[in-house]
Amino acid sequence: MSDPTIDRVAAATPAPVARKIRGLSDRAIAWIFVAPTIFLLLAINIFPLIWTIRLSFTNYRANRLNREPEFIGLRNYERILTDSDIWLNMQATAHFLIWTIIFQVLIGFTLAWLINKKFRGNDLWTTIIVLPMMLSPAVVGNFWKFLYQPQIGLFNYITGFFTGRDPSSFEMLGQVDLAPWAIVVVDTWMWTPFVMLICLAGLRSIPDYIYEAAEIDRASKLRQFFTITLPMVLPFLMLAVLFRGIENFKMFDLVVQLTGGGPGSVTELTSINLKREAFEKWRTGYASAYAIILFVTVFGLASIYVKALNRVKDR
């Protein structure tokens, strides 16, 4: 039985085109369909990557188009990897990365564990908790800037209420000791729901009969948690940690909106620093080498991520 849609398309195809297509093999037709995608991929992803690698070995500056770039070998890499300021930026990124992951995993897992219990309004709570994740980072950045205002900010008022301090006596985004924590709080607020959803998927994949068997063996709730729940959710948790780790390593928009890298450079994460080198100081060759270092790191982490993903899939 023939498909009327196929017949209609075949009838509408001009005779010379139809003749040409009839002469092509299945493999050739497949290539014709895939070619535009491959071309776009090469033009948008692969070519810029190769070009960046090439530029990273030169002293090219994009604001001096008349000057020929000179080949300087590995000097850009050498400068970056011995620069103590960049090392400090990496430490700022590490502070942000480690604390956001710790908080997101702890709060996310606890929320998932609570949501997994059957209670009234379960779905409504899940929707409310997931809301911050749906917002744009630019919106969240602006929104939290108001919350952190020392005079009118709700965050300062609530903190002041619980600690007894004057709300206008501290500035979350303006103090060197508080600003790194301010960005951690905002990222945790925004992305904990994501970790919660992954943990929830892990918790819901555990079959009930395992808990029933444990009950029969008189295992306590604590024992059940440590010998059933935690080990079975662990691959999912690993996945969430890796995903958030990769994302936060590249974090740019949220922090730029909140602090712009300040005060001083205490919240200047690597991607903000990279943008400054490339588009404020116009050291394109140097910035390219910097970008390649970050790319290799993210690529390495992504390889581990894919491996963890496959392990979860095999389960």
Partner: protein
Amino acid sequence: MRDFLNGLVRLRRGSWEMVATIIIALGVIMLMQPFALWAFTYSFVTTLIGTVMFIIVSHFPE
């Protein structure tokens, strides 16, 4: 542990991927640690070796 060592000797994917993963993780830790500048200097090479190794060993038989 014995399976892991056997896998290394017989060029099996699982064991070698584990080694590459450890090298990548070591490189990332070296990149972000606040203790020694020399570790930061050699972090990129370590991560690069781990990543290239991961790409190669992921083609080894299971």
